[in-house]
């Protein structure tokens, strides 16, 4: 008994020693000089970027790309850990809400010199996209690789049953007082458990089976897929600089009126209560289960909506507002280079390739996102058409120039930390829209403190 126990313990110690030795070797795993580690979060985009990596390697045999994909939540925490521990990937997909902070902390590499040296043509991208990746300090941090806008995804079976025509859906109007024809349509699409519609007598707003409009959350500071376009067509701007502002305007009546109207839909029974919207089943899955008539969402979700087998989804343009036109937020992703990378040339070569038409044609054909290069757009349109989508509603605001940028800011994390609870409180009726003025003061205080 003693002997076996002793042997076991000795074996354990030996194991520890061995693993320590093995561990040291693992840590210094041999990585080729030309090997670039690349991270992205969307699993749906993995196949097309794998294809890009293959073509890239064929064109540049001295470089290889190793792609790693992590889910959205883990992606950012792993990235931050990587920054801290000097083990971040060489190139990673950046987002407007995060890259300014990284730039501020010196974690992403400015590419101005590379762009100048290689004479990269920035005019091939959609209007305004390339400049989005110029940070608050005036330096460029990435080449755009895709873009997105918002539209309404609606359940075509419901709209047919409600007698709403496609023309009506694509010519909606809106104003913060009575919601325009948009609210009329939402009302018509709402059905209570006894089958009565929102515009019929006896409609029971406390017992609704199908909500006319769905939403995922209160939107935080950006409201990209929840309220951003209402505020914009009401004449509101996030801040005085677009996008780099020194103060925000969340207290402006144009904004609080918009939120007041949006929240009012819950009171009237056309939108689910905040608690229901925030439950574990996301808005798209609920839509697919027939609980919502319409949900606004971004173009990157086309694939997900396409996968909803029980619902035939169609697209409707955003409404025309008091300023007389439609507007949509236009955002886009770009690949950014980690400032601590030891393979600068390889990384730049990969970023340049991803921003080139060759790569974007591959992206376009996959029919998952819209490529940033304007010339690749027809291929994308065709690919989406093959899946049954007419993506014109997404394109129109971009072509008309009626777009506004994501409210990027180096202090985005702090702003979100104030605005998300504030908006949550308003949407769950624990605070009034007027309370957003106070939240705005807090936000501006943070910005001036960190200026």
């Amino acid at each position: 008994m003693t002997m076996t126990r002793r042997t076991l313990l000795k074996a354990g110690l030996a194991g520890l020693a061995a693993s320590a030795v093995a561990g040291c070797n693992n840590g210094a795993a041999a990585r080729g000089e030309g090997e670039v580690i690349y991270w992205l979060w969307d699993s749906a985009q993995l196949p097309m970027y794998t294809e890009c990596a293959k073509v890239f390697h064929e064109q540049n045999p001295q470089y290889t790309v190793k792609i790693e994909q992590y889910g959205w939540n883990d992606y950012w925490s792993k990235l931050v850990t990587g920054f801290i521990s000097d083990t971040a990937p060489d190139v990673f997909t950046g987002h407007s809400s995060k890259y300014p902070l990284f730039a501020d902390k010196g974690q992403v590499l400015p590419i101005d010199d590379f762009v100048a040296k290689d004479n990269v043509d920035l005019s091939i991208y959609q209007k305004g996209l390339a400049d989005r990746w110029i940070g608050a300090d005036g330096k460029r941090y990435g080449l755009p690789k895709d873009w997105d806008t918002e539209v309404y995804f609606y359940n075509s079976a419901f709209t047919e049953a409600a007698g709403i025509s496609t023309e009506q859906l694509n010519s909606m109007t809106w104003n913060p007082q009575d919601g325009g024809t948009l609210e009329q349509i939402i009302r018509r699409l709402t059905v209570d458990s006894k089958g009565r519609r929102g515009d019929q007598p006896g409609f029971d707003k406390d017992d609704v089976k199908v909500y006319g409009l769905g939403y995922a959350d209160a939107g935080g500071g950006d409201g990209q897929t929840s309220w951003s376009w209402y505020a914009a067509i009401n004449g509101w701007k996030y801040s005085e600089g677009e996008p780099w502002g020194t103060k925000f305007f969340y207290g402006d009546p144009k904004f609080t009126d918009t939120i007041g109207w949006w929240r009012g839909l819950i009171t009237k029974g056309y939108m689910p209560a905040y608690a229901q919207a925030k439950s574990g089943v996301d808005v798209t899955t609920s839509f697919g289960a027939g609980k919502y008539g319409m949900t606004p969402n971004g173009s990157w979700m086309l694939g997900t909506y396409g996968g909803l087998k029980q619902v035939k989804t169609k697209l409707a343009r955003l409404p025309i507002g008091p300023i007389g036109k439609r507007m949509s937020m236009m955002n886009g992703l770009a690949d950014t280079i980690w400032a601590g990378t030891t393979r600068r040339d390889a990384s730049w070569a990969w970023v340049k390739f991803l921003g080139s038409q060759t790569a974007q044609d591959i992206v376009a054909k996959a029919g998952v996102v819209f490529p940033a290069v304007a010339a690749s757009m027809p291929a994308a349109k065709a690919a989406f058409a093959k899946s049954g989508w007419d993506v014109t509603p997404f394109l129109e605001p971009v072509e008309a120039g009626d777009v506004f940028p994501y409210p990027a800011n180096p202090n985005a994390a702090d702003v979100t930390a104030v605005m998300t609870p504030a908006m949550d409180a308003v949407m769950s009726f624990e605070a009034e829209p007027a309370s957003l003025a106070q939240a705005n003061d807090d936000v501006n205080q943070i910005l001036s403190a960190n200026a």
């Binding site: 950012w76 925490s77 931050v80 850990t81 920054f83 801290i84 902070l101 902390k105 010196g106 974690q107 209560a273 905040y274 608690a275 229901q276 925030k278 439950s279 574990g280 089943v281 609920s286 289960a289 609980k291 994390a413 702090d414 930390a417 998300t420 609870p421 949550d424 409180a425 769950s428 624990e430």
Partner: protein, 314 residues
């Protein structure tokens, strides 16, 4: 408590081992041996506990973003903490959680232990009760997040079946913390129950027999005899579980991320947010120091108050 064994004492003589006279050289002689025995544990303790704590204490007086060197800024972090409404909210929320969690868990654990003690010695029952502990915290949180979902969770389906309106367990401010407390009770009650059960087994039978002879009822026996005799075990369980409870993180990170609004933004999660997503590690360290101080005070108070060292049986 004595342990008897049938093995005869070791009679083998060993070379080189000098038989030390039992009394005189004991105090110093033991120190040398003790140091050998303690060496690895002390190494681990100093390197992985003491040093980080000291470094954390130092960092609490700095402004530190983790990406560049720390900047000493004196008491600024602590001053900011006093004004920070999120911090006070986090403390309140955490205390609320601890009270609910520990209260419910201890009551249930004692209850289950008593039931096992009086009803059955079956291994199966004990094994089943311990089962939740085998699953990782994050998994438990996800499973219950799924089961308690407002729209498709089975619990709400059951409630509507019985005629009660569905409850947004994670979506409503007043339900969020009790729900998280409940989930952790589910995971830990079996383990805690077994600890108490072991304590129950230590109480000698003659105490119960005496009580029965005196005509005591079950209930009275429990309150007047069993509970007091369980005191050392209960105190140990309370102290350890309370410390763990204050550090609740996994469940919140996986389910509510501090929401809805700020209802579940417990202190530990707030510290993590500040450190990792807002690059404010100096401030996070300051809050961690305060948390440490609070835990130390509470544990000392508990141990004092409940006279942990004594046992009514001795």
């Amino acid at each position: 408590m004595t342990v008897t064994t049938n093995a005869p004492p070791d009679k083998r003589r060993t070379h080189g081992d000098v038989a030390a006279p039992p009394t005189r050289r004991r105090s110093l002689g033991d120190l040398k041996v003790a140091m050998i025995f303690l060496a690895p544990a002390t190494l681990g303790f100093v390197v992985f506990y003491i040093w980080p704590t000291l470094r954390g204490a130092y960092l609490s007086f700095t402004e530190y973003s983790l990406l560049s060197a720390p900047n000493f800024n004196g008491l600024a972090n602590y001053e900011r903490m006093i004004q920070d409404s999120f911090f006070w909210n986090a403390l309140v929320v955490t205390v609320e959680y601890v009270v609910l969690n520990i209260g419910l868990q201890t009551i249930l654990a004692v209850g289950i232990a008593m039931l096992m003690y009086r009803l059955t010695q079956s291994i199966t029952v004990r094994a089943v009760i311990l089962l939740p502990y085998l699953i990782a915290n994050v998994v438990v949180a996800l499973v219950w997040y799924w089961m308690l979902d407002f729209q498709v969770g089975i619990v709400n389906q059951g409630l509507t079946y019985v005629g009660i309106d569905p409850v947004a367990f994670f979506g409503e401010s007043q339900w969020a913390i009790p729900t998280i407390a409940g989930i952790n009770v589910w995971r830990h009650m079996g383990y805690t129950a077994l600890l108490v059960f072991a304590g129950l087994q230590m109480i000698p039978k003659y105490v119960y027999e005496a009580a029965e002879v005196d005509g005591s009822t079950e209930w009275k026996t429990f309150w007047r005899i069993t509970l007091p005799l369980l005191r050392p075990v209960l105190v140990m369980v309370l102290v350890v579980t309370m410390i763990g409870s204050f550090q609740i993180f996994d469940t919140v990170a996986v389910t509510t991320q501090g929401g809805p609004i700020n209802a579940t933004r417990v202190i530990y999660y707030y510290i993590y947010e500040r450190a990792f997503t807002r690059f404010d590690f100096g401030y996070a360290s300051a809050m961690a120091m305060v948390l440490f101080a609070i835990l130390a005070v509470i544990s000392l108070v508990q141990l004092r108050l409940l006279r942990a060292k004594e046992s009514d049986l001795a």
